[in-house]
């Protein structure tokens, strides 16, 4: 979230939002695509919007990304 645009923090972004369940369903695929260097905003626009807008899911996304990255590094 931005430190300098309180309105954006309050209102989130306009447009399609996958929601928590919708985002969670494809979150593993999302983080693997990101680790592969693919454009996840184009591939999963509604999930990317949700991650931006939901303070709970953005932290879970960061956690899953860290775990998946570590797993790849260990493989």
């Amino acid at each position: 979230m931005s430190d300098h645009d309180p309105l954006a923090d309050l209102l989130g972004t306009a447009g399609e939002d996958a929601g928590c369940e919708g985002g969670f369903t494809v979150l593993a695929e999302y983080v693997e695509a990101e680790l592969d260097g693919r454009n996840v905003v184009q591939l999963f626009p509604a999930v990317a919007a949700h991650i931006h807008n939901c303070p709970a899911c953005v932290e879970d996304y960061r956690g899953l990304l860290a775990l998946a990255r570590e797993r790849r590094g260990a493989a």
Binding site: G12, F24, V26, A28, C54, P55
Partner: protein, 216 residues
């Protein structure tokens, strides 16, 4: 909702196929797979709790151990219960990690907030604090005008439940999982209330000329 293709059964990577075969086996084979899964998700739970240690420094020691074990237990139940929902679009381990992260996330937040009350303040001080985030003089004036319009919209546009959730989560930074627990609801349902509230507020600000009209 997304464009990536699900993997056909034959396209599963070797490790994911081995996990599925083990968890769908009978007898000792399944028991061994469940034990491996629990070990995997317990390590993930500790790693995730460690990553968030600065957010919840008060949760440590035996309390943290207990929380991680509960998270791993619950994640194993979730993974095995939803095994048929694994589409092979990611590695099995990444998919399973998601459940461990979710369990740790919810448990840490609720544990940290236990006994606390949900802030309901939408008073002058709360809104002044938000307006104070702007950095330039012009931005402060614009921000003050917008926030004043937004405050009116919160009072006039939202249902009682939408106002309750918006004030707690957006204005006062309360965790959605905590609000969900207080309301005997789910993260997804509370987020939907927040999302609908934001849509109403955004539409009102657009009508009043405070925000550019969105193409719908």
């Amino acid at each position: 909702m997304h464009t990536a293709q699900d993997a056909a059964p034959g396209q599963l990577d070797h490790e994911s196929r081995a996990w599925l075969d083990g968890l769908r086996a009978a007898g000792a084979g399944r028991s061994a797979a469940l034990e491996r899964l629990h070990d995997l998700l317990l390590r993930a739970a500790y790693a995730e709790a460690g990553r968030r240690r600065d957010l919840y420094p008060e949760i440590a020691g035996a309390e943290l151990d207990d929380l991680c074990r509960q998270a791993a237990d619950d994640a194993v139940v979730a993974v095995t219960g939803k095994l048929d929902g694994f589409r092979g679009a990611s590695r099995f381990t990444t998919w399973a990690y998601g459940f461990a992260v979710l369990e740790v996330s919810v448990k840490l937040r609720r544990h940290a907030w236990r006994g606390g009350s949900i802030p309901t303040a939408d008073d002058d001080a709360t809104w002044d604090r938000l307006a104070g985030g702007a950095t330039s003089a012009q931005a402060r004036v614009e921000s003050a005008e917008l926030l004043s319009a937004l405050r009116r919209a919160v009072a006039e546009e939202l249902s009682a439940r939408q106002r309750e959730v918006f004030v707690a989560v957006a204005l006062n930074g309360v965790e959605i999982d905590v609000v969900a627990a207080q309301l005997s609801s789910t993260r997804g349902a509370v987020y939907k209330v927040l999302h609908d509230a934001r849509q109403k507020l955004r539409a009102r600000l657009e009508r009043e000329g405070h925000l550019p009209m969105e193409v719908r």
